[in-house]
């Protein structure tokens, strides 16, 4: 038991801090100090992560596992949440007064995501995801009096409830078939054979759908643009990196060769969904007049590239998680830039003349957008490149072509934003001020995009440990 508690030390830190925030918020502590407490908790949690490494490989009677994958993903979750908290500190909250509650929910989301990535039992996975979902619904409607925000919360809730319901049904089928929900045990039972195949495939599909919702894969992406648009910028940024990474971590753990607990052969579906996701994401982003919606659809398309990696064997898994790490920073950077340069809805016109009003930040924003588009020598290019290498290695030439065609299409809308910033002049020449915590977010993301672009080994060495 001590061993198990040792393992969830970071989660315990976050829980304690979260409860404290809730109380402090009620007693009227201001927004800034609350944010700093949350940030501090995340930093402490991050640095206590290495202490969890020496606990045994299975904790809480096999509910959670202590492997390198969960370690890395937990670190990533903490980084993503930390960036979101930092962004929230600098964000200008117009009509919002429950800061304690807000940071509490962010921390709970972090805890549930950390549990999700280390879970090795379908029930545990379900519980963790459900916690994450409920917290997310509340976060999406942070602006309680704003129509867009409440709509976002409601939409997210309807889609989310449906998809977790579907997933739960799938899990129940698995239990009915195999009599266990523990992933290693499922693996053993499947290896022994003698299971009714069609039911198992159906169960797998239902579970897949639940994960796909979190990863915002087509056709489970309908909510993305509306929810991101209605949610406050920091929340939208958080949704685009945190829960999405969780969706992929789950897909990798349960479906794709790591080791595959449910039956193999999901690559075909992954290829199909990857092509659909990137294509529909990109073409939907094309005509968006709001940069927030544009970035939302861009994040859908990016999910397609990541899924393409998952469909391509061990090399592809490495590429996909390389992509996820890079994506966390470049997407966060793009969202943060857009939020600080513009307003809540971020119409495209509001970026006019940004090249003159805020030359430095316009440049930084352009770098993030170009990295998302996959322009060398930025990190986003290497991420796409490794995915392509893996996809071609497994001879999925059609998928490779789709990735390539899509990245050309994607350039069009990313460049459109850059074009507006540099080619067009605005009547408004007021300089733009970015809060210090916003600058820190951008500095972290920018250095990651540049650093990983030049020294990708930093990540690759870690990934080599996971997917040996």
């Amino acid at each position: 038991m001590m061993n198990s508690l040792q393992f969830i030390k970071p989660e315990l830190v976050l829980t304690a801090a979260g409860l404290m925030l809730l109380v402090c918020g009620v007693f009227g502590l201001r927004r800034k100090p609350l944010g700093l407490i949350a940030l501090m908790a995340i930093v402490i949690g991050f640095f206590s992560l290495p202490m969890t490494l020496d606990s045994s490989s299975m904790v809480f009677s096999g509910m959670l596992t202590n492997d390198v994958f969960s370690f890395v993903m937990r670190a990533l979750v903490l980084v993503a949440t930390g960036l979101a908290v930092l962004m929230s500190i600098g964000y200008s909250w117009s009509d919002h007064d429950d800061a304690g509650e807000y940071y509490f929910f962010l921390l709970v989301a972090a805890i549930s995501m950390m549990l999700t990535v280390s879970a090795t039992n379908l029930l545990m996975i379900y519980l963790a995801i459900e916690t994450l979902s409920i917290v997310s619904y509340v976060l999406a409607c942070s602006f309680k009096k704003d129509l867009y925000s409440t709509e976002a919360g409601l939409k997210y809730f309807l889609f989310g409830a449906l998809s977790t319901g579907i997933m739960l049904y799938g899990i129940s089928l698995v239990y009915g078939l195999l009599g266990t929900l523990s992933l290693p045990a499922i693996g053993l039972k499947l290896a022994a054979g003698g299971i009714h195949e069609p039911t198992l495939v159906l169960a797998g599909l239902l579970v897949f759908a639940g994960f796909a919702f979190k990863a915002s894969l087509v056709p489970f992406h309908m909510w993305v643009a509306d929810v991101y648009e209605g949610a406050p910028w920091p929340v939208a940024a958080f949704f685009s990196i945190g829960p999405k990474a969780i969706g992929f971590a789950l897909l990798a753990r349960v479906f794709f060769g790591f080791p595959a607990f449910l039956t193999s052969g999901w690559e075909g579906i992954a290829v199909f969904l990857a092509i659909a996701t990137m294509t529909i994401g990109n073409f939907s982003a094309f005509h968006q007049e709001s940069v927030k919606r544009l970035l939302a659809f861009s994040s859908v398309a990016q999910a397609g590239y990541i899924l393409a990696g998952l469909a391509a064997g061990v090399l592809g898994l490495k590429a996909a998680f390389f992509y996820i790490v890079i994506y966390t920073f470049m997407n966060m950077g793009a969202f943060a830039c857009a939020s600080f340069l513009s307003s809540e809805r971020a119409p495209l016109e509001s970026f006019k003349g940004m090249g003159r009003r805020a030359p430095g930040w316009a440049l930084v924003f352009s770098i993030f957008l170009l990295s998302l588009a996959g322009l060398p020598p930025l990190a986003g290019f290497l991420a796409k490149f490794f995915v392509l290498v893996a996809v071609i290695d497994v001879k999925q030439y059609f998928l490779a072509t789709a990735v390539v065609v899509n990245s050309v299409v994607a350039f069009f809308y990313y460049l459109k934003v850059i074009k507006v910033m540099y080619f067009e002049d605005s009547p408004d020449s007021q300089p733009i001020r970015i809060p210090v915590s916003g600058m820190i977010v951008l500095a972290i993301c920018l250095s990651a995009v540049l650093l990983f672009g030049f020294w990708p080994q930093l990540i690759m060495n870690i990934l080599a440990l996971i997917f040996a």
């Binding site: 322009l375 390539v404 074009k419 080994q457």
Partner: protein
Amino acid sequence: MPYLLTTIIFLPLLGALVVALIPGNCDKIIRMTAIAFNAAVLMVVGVLCLLFDRTSGSMQFTETHPWIPQAGIHYTVGVDGISLALVFLTALLGFLACLASNTIKSRIKEYFIVYQILMTGMLGTFLALDLVVFYIFWETVLIPMFFLIGIWGGPRREYAAWKFFFYTLAGSVVMLLAIIGIYFLSTPHTFNMLELAYSSPLLSRTLQAILFLMFFFAFAIKVPVFPFHTWLPDAHVEAPTPVSVILAGVLLKMGTYGLFRVCVPFFPEAVAMFAWSLGVLGAVNLIYGACAAFAQTDFKKLIAYSSVSHMGFVLLGLAAMNSTGFNGSILEMFNHGIITGAMFLLVGVVYERSHTREFSAFGGLASTMPRYAFFLTFMALASLGLPGLSGFVGEFLSLAGIFITFPKLAIISAIGLIAVVVLFLVMVKKVLWGKPKEGVVWSDMSMGEVAVIMPLLILVLIVGFYPDAILDFQKHTVDVLVKTL
């Protein structure tokens, strides 16, 4: 000298950083810094030319540093006879176009930052010996060019910038697929261009042909080969003068350089298989470009189409598949850079004064602008291939080469050459001769403008009278290349 090539590649980038640190309102200092950095690059390239061993046909000054060893990607650079001339051309035109950038009046800081990044991309492309590194530099050129055309260009600049960007991008992603494909087909897997150059015959003819076509698609758009040329007139016409110089002088050479660096050594059988088609494309480029140029009423568009025409010679020399043709082709790349670069500078000179490029606004300039008349006539003669000037040598060698392999094509092209001659003579007539227009009083070229074109004129003369000045550097490399066929 270790790190000589790395210095050449990244010196402009350092310049971009330095310029970025200078406050935006110090126009003069920014200009001087950019010019100083380009002069420094030119000097280092000069040192490179002096140290270059002309008796060797192999790669020199190679550097290899592991970059992403897990994926077999190494930062490898090197220079041989084919790339040396182009590196020199890039450094020279980069410096001269930087001098000629005093016509840029707005957003000067941004202009020079982007310009310097462009220089790094171009130099890197010519020096890289690892396919991934090559691709990265190749793509690095795109965004700066997009901005240079899109911000500082003419009235239809946005359209031209988009068109340029997407044509080239479409080509380069196909190249990316081919790069990954060839990586997996080579044993052991490698991105190293030198190793791939020797292992190529291991591939089957079909595979060679497919990969060749994929690479060719990317390079053909850049050259540009008919029918992928339509981005070129738009981009050239809208780009500001110094950018046109770089675009015509250097960027087009990236395509033909790619053909020589990648297509010929990697897929010799495929190139031999497609040699006839390449020759036909060359002849079409030559004749179509000249005819299309003929129909233009815009001075700059005319030069742009004449570039298409001249790139036909490069293709013809390549299709010849012998050392004469290759030598001619590579020399023609260099010559075209010098001559067309000068031509665009000359168009810029009258554009600065008249703010139009329509031929109807010109005429009789010979009497009012004698210096200008001299330079324009000189460059037109060089361009149409007058013996004694540099253009003749490259064109002659290309035609001589293709005559050995495909005599019919050589004859057709030689007849097509007449169109080029007529084209330039008519151009000279429209601009310089006849009666001066009423009320047109333009000052003759200033000493500054003369100083920018003068080095190009001297080079045209040197190469014209003593072609070995350039051929000496490249002929051993060409011999090695021909041996692999």
